[in-house]
């Protein structure tokens, strides 16, 4: 059978550095084809070229056997290809409906947009997928997860034959991901071809029919999912066997590090009380919108203090701004790395050093050697894939960008680490590194608070889990009591 999309020898370099050398891919109609590879393997580069967002240096793309060359996404769309990009890219001040049907708005007389139909159509679309989002909401009012759902709905709404999903679930919880999988199953049934990228390998085994692996910009292998198991796939991706997925050898001490009493925060978060101990990894679980991020924002002085008290190592503290929080030894890896994590216009080094500038320049004059050493340490420890620390952070792959954010905060040598979806978009190999660092951090007496939508991650890493529901505490589980069912039961 002729593939709906066939790509051979695709190549692309950025200022002389090759990102992709021989991208190869065959997508059959009615199948879900996983594109796998570590961070910086060239997946997004490959897909954005297919979509006409970037231009290739060489290679051939065939659509239904016919050679094509898209100079813009508009042409790709016209050729029945739609895509959810890895980096969310909404138009913040416009409504969900306008974002989804941008360029395809239904019209009335005199060229007017038929807003009533547009909104209804959008609401039907969202409801159909089971996404609880209002068509008339503004994108800027949505959470990251909701934004991602909207982008998914948008790509699916094109009724394209080839649908590219570049890490569509990176910001989603498992519950929402299920909706997506249902939608993908439907697409498959209708004979569409889906290209699926995810670093959550369990998802790949759940929904994909076939796989293609890239490593360091090169095609490595493809085949049917049925013919491969998880360890083999990991080995293909990482290039070496990986013994265990989670590394955890910390033991919580009874000494309290952070005590929160009756915390109230914005958007209906109230009555949150818990204690985290030295050497502990405390998981915080909840469904989308349950208020996990708000709790962290409040602890870090990013949202107004409305009530409640915070004690650090037994002493009450007031945290009104991030400056207070950092001074108190708290670090916060936010979930929105583009919005609040990185300065995209700056270099890797500048981003890594951003939160420790005071320490790196006691006199106010920067010590280039100090900066360089700090950056080098994190690049090595977290295995950040970058040609040089002077490179713009925007040119890193998504997963490597995430590592830069983590590195920035590790450099502050915090006592308490707030991690909001810390492994979002991170590949299996690097995830393991992050787990190792977390574990070592806790082992050395630090305290980790971790929000994650990946149940596996919570199960694998947390010593204890607090479950939030609608902004309130729904329960607490010790490591011994943990199971996916119980978490979900408490959260839902």
């Amino acid at each position: 059978m002729q593939p709906v999309l066939e790509v051979t020898d695709l190549a692309k370099s950025f200022s002389g550095v090759p990102a992709l050398r021989d991208g190869r891919f065959r997508l059959q109609a009615g199948s879900v084809h996983a594109l796998c590879g570590g961070n910086g393997a060239g997946k997004s580069t490959f897909l954005t070229i297919v979509m006409g967002i970037q231009q290739r240096d060489g290679g051939v793309i065939r659509r239904n056997g016919r050679e094509v060359s898209f100079s813009s996404p508009a042409e790709a769309l016209a050729n029945g290809i739609a895509m959810v990009e890895q980096e969310l890219s909404p138009v913040p001040a416009m409504t969900v409906a306008e974002n989804i049907y941008m360029g395809r708005e239904p019209l009335r007389s005199f060229g007017r947009i038929d807003f009533a139909t547009l909104n209804r159509q959008t609401q039907d679309l969202l409801d159909g997928f089971g996404f609880a989002i209002r068509a008339t909401s503004l994108m800027m009012d949505l959470t990251v997860a909701q934004t991602q759902l909207v982008e998914i709905a948008k790509a699916l709404s094109y009724d394209a034959e080839v649908i590219i999903l570049d890490e569509p679930t990176s910001a989603l919880g498992e519950a929402e991901a299920e909706y997506l999988f249902a939608a993908i199953a439907m697409l498959k049934q209708r004979g569409k071809g889906v290209i699926y990228v995810s670093h959550r390998l369990s998802e790949i085994f759940a929904i994909a029919d076939s796989y293609t692996v890239f490593r360091d910009g090169r095609f490595v292998q493809d085949g049917a999912i049925a013919d491969i198991n998880k360890d083999q796939l990991i080995q293909l991706i990482v290039g070496r066997p990986l013994t265990e997925e989670f590394i955890k050898d910390n033991t919580p001490s009874p000494e309290p590090a952070l005590k929160v009493t009756d915390l109230t925060a914005a958007r209906g978060v109230r009555g949150i009380s818990f204690t985290a101990h030295k050497g502990e990894i405390l998981g915080i679980y909840g469904l989308m919108g349950s208020g996990r991020t708000e709790v962290f924002d409040r602890l870090f002085g990013l949202s107004d203090a409305k009530g409640g008290s915070i004690e650090l190592a037994g002493k009450p503290v007031t945290i009104g701004t991030p400056v207070d929080a950092i001074a108190a030894g708290i670090a916060y890896v936010t979930e929105d790395r583009k919005g609040s994590g990185l300065v995209l216009s700056a270099s890797v080094r500048d981003n890594l050093c951003l939160a420790t500038l005071d320490r790196l320049s006691p006199t106010g004059v920067m010590q280039a050697a100090n900066e360089g050493a700090s950056a080098a340490r994190m690049i090595e420890e977290l295995r950040i894939k970058t040609a040089s620390d002077a490179l713009g952070v925007a040119s890193l792959s998504g997963g490597n960008q995430q590592k830069v954010v983590l590195g920035k905060w590790f450099l502050t040598e915090p006592r308490i680490l707030l991690l909001d979806e810390p492994t979002r978009g991170v590949d299996v190999g690097a995830k393991r590194e992050i787990y190792r660092v977390m574990s070592e951090f806790a082992k050395a007496g630090g305290t980790v608070l971790m929000v994650s939508s990946e149940t596996d991650e919570i199960l694998g890493m947390a010593d204890r889990v607090i479950v939030l529901k609608d902004g309130k505490m729904a329960g607490e589980l010790r490591r011994g009591e943990l199971s996916a069912e119980r978490l979900l039961h408490l959260a839902a």
Partner: protein, 331 residues
Amino acid sequence: MERNEQTTAGPRLTAGAIAQKYGILIALALACVTLTFISENFLTTRNILNVLRQTSINGVLAIGMTFVILTRGIDLSVGSLVALTGVVASSFATTATTGFIPGAPWPALLAIAIGLVVGMACGGVSGTIVARFRVPAFVATLGMLSAARGLTLLYSGGRPIPALSEGFRWIGTGSLFGVPVPIFVLLGTFAVAHFVLTQTRFGRHVYAVGGNPHAAKVSGLPVNGIRFAVYVISGGLAGLAGIILAARTGSALPQAGIAYELDAIAAVVIGGTSLAGGIGRVSGTLIGALLIGVMNNGLDLLGVESYYQQVIKGVLIVAAVMMDRSKNKQD
């Protein structure tokens, strides 16, 4: 960051919603009420018409500027284009034979059309440089500011073009039902712009390109075409303003319009449109332009000395916007 900005409403605009969203409207109302109390001449039909007529030129420019700013651009050339279009259009509208046309006076409509076309053509050049050659709008239109002024002086020999025909002058000085024509032009421009921006695809795409050019491109919008178009619109409206100006003052001065771009941009920004693009409304722009107009008029009515006027104007502009922004202070 973006969160605390105002949002673009859909087409639904109730009086209440406007008031709530536009602190600046309250500033305008406040200014008007204050002036009504301290100057008996302020709230007279005649003066209100004056204010509106005086606002017409800046208002028309600011409406065009709104389109450009919504796409994250800026058009510094409008002041020079006012002069250029005024001079060119006027040269086809003199009562006598001019050096340019060896014949009878041209009909006013032709002159107007020529003015608009010249403005649009210059806007098109800026637009091409911005959209096609990726030159920052500031530089591209600064170049046009300089070049258009030079062309104006070359075309006119540096001399005013006097003695415009009655038909042409009607645009600036005529009345319909007792209301000066420039006011109709302003309100007409506003109505069309408001319709285009809130109701049409092109308008919504202007917002999209400004809000997130990448998203717009990936959604298949003709981003470059839209960028180009907004400069053509701004240029065309600068042409319209240039024609009104020449018609009002009765002769086209090559040194007209200097620094008009600042007032136009000010009206847009005071009206709540973000220079970062994607957020704003042409109704806010109109209110911003009116606020500036009322302020100028009021300070003159009160006979405030010119040096103090400048200080007071500076303070008032900032205060008005401060009032507006204080509502939604969060970060």
